[in-house]
């Protein structure tokens, strides 16, 4: 079992990268554009223009930034509240990422590399937070 300290450091780094990725999508889309797919192709534009990119009129990238900020805070804090909070937020983010990836593959039929990157980061964060919770919740520190 890795130490809680190393789990928290890893989660801090991944959450910071996640803020960068979701922040990039949010900034580009708030300017009316779409994220640029590194290898070309219209996947990012197609996904960004689909109605699934918004929930209650708000771009999901903003929710992403908010989620990563919460996860960053949870990784920086000690105690059970941070352990449970980090686990809950990463679980929600992971579940939603699974749903979004399903939509990309089967409904929108276009893949956005930025969304896939975010889904991968959220998966790693979920694993780190799950190990942290199972291993350390209810214990001092």
């Amino acid at each position: 079992m890795p130490s809680e300290g190393s789990l928290r450091i890893a989660a801090t780094v991944i959450a910071a990268i996640g803020i960068g990725v979701a922040g990039y999508i949010a900034i580009v889309e708030s300017g009316g554009g779409a994220p640029v797919c590194v290898a070309g192709g219209g996947g990012c534009e197609t996904v960004a223009e689909s109605s699934y990119s918004h929930v209650f009129g708000v771009n999901i990238a903003y929710f992403g930034v908010f989620g990563y900020v919460l996860l960053l805070a949870a990784s920086l804090l000690r105690g059970d509240l941070a352990r449970m909070g980090g686990f809950a937020v990463s679980l929600g983010g992971f579940g939603y990422s699974v749903y979004l990836t399903y939509l990309e593959v089967f409904k929108i039929e276009a893949i956005c590399q930025w969304c896939v990157t975010s889904a991968a980061l959220m998966t790693i964060l979920f694993c780190l937070n799950a190990v942290r919770m199972v291993g350390y919740v209810g214990k001092p520190g």
């Binding site: 070309g40 219209g42 197609t46 699934y52 929600g92 749903y99 929108i108 039929e109």
Partner: protein, 255 residues
């Protein structure tokens, strides 16, 4: 007197044991909460996927011709708006067409596929469809419907499927129901957004502006083609070449 009495030591040990028991109890409770949260999230995601999969917007339940063929033909080719092919391709072939036009239909079935196969799939060229309303005013909502489908990455699926289910020109078959049926068959993911987009002022104006552009270029019939690339002097008009080889040659010269 030095050290703790045996009684005090027993008391401290008992308190420690109680505290450890409390901690274990608390840990057990929190892990149960975590497991319940995982279960809830799994159920919610499963429900979302089931609802999404049963959404009627996925097509497949239409009575259209060649739905599968069109999907197969365009599979794996990047699309953006009404642009087909790698956006980084240096040469652009412009096709000015009218969705009601029977000659455009035969081009779409016999000539354009050869170019797609030889030069679009290879990344040498990209093709952009531009609406040129020439048959009747019904071509405007048809063109707008294709642009709206393009906003969801299904522009070329829409155009190709429309051609394959085309009716007699200006016979009144281009109804809202027909356009929607094509959108379903083309796999437009969000039909509500498509409906909203196709009626938007911006999309209708795009059909009008590309029609005006075709007229400015001197085209009088559909389909008409133009090519632009590093080897061409701006947008060079090609008219209506009768065979794929002529289009391929023009692309080569423009590259």
């Amino acid at each position: 007197m030095s050290g703790k009495s045996a009684r005090e030591e027993r008391r401290e040990e008992r308190l420690r044991a109680e505290s450890q028991g409390d901690q274990q109890e608390r840990r057990k409770r929190l892990l149960q909460i975590g497991s319940a949260a995982i279960f809830v999230v799994v159920v919610v995601v499963a429900v979302l996927i089931v609802i999404s999969a049963s959404d009627s917007g996925s097509g497949g339940d239409t009575n259209l011709e060649d739905v599968g063929l069109v999907k197969e033909k365009l599979a794996g080719i990047p699309q953006s708006g009404l642009l087909l092919g790698d956006p980084r391709a240096t040469v652009t072939l412009y096709e000015y067409g009218d969705l009601q036009c029977p000659v455009c239909k035969s081009f779409s079935e016999q000539i354009v596929p050869e170019v797609i196969e030889s030069q679009v799939k290879t990344g040498e060229a990209k093709i952009e469809f531009r609406n040129f309303v020439i048959i009747s005013q019904e071509s405007t909502p048809a063109g707008a419907a294709a642009i709206a489908a393009g906003k969801q990455g299904r522009g070329w699926n829409y155009i190709e499927l429309f051609y394959r289910n085309q009716g007699k020109e200006a016979s009144g078959y281009v109804t809202d129901e027909f356009l929607k049926e094509i959108a379903k068959g083309a796999g437009v993911p969000d039909l509500a957004k498509w409906e909203k987009d196709r009626e938007s002022k911006q999309v209708v104006e795009e059909v009008e502006s590309t029609t005006a552009e075709a007229q400015r270029l001197g085209f009088t019939g559909t389909p008409s083609f133009a090519v632009e690339g590093p080897g061409s002097s701006g947008k060079e008009t090609l008219g209506t070449p009768g065979e794929a080889a002529l289009l391929e040659e023009a692309i080569e010269e423009a590259s």
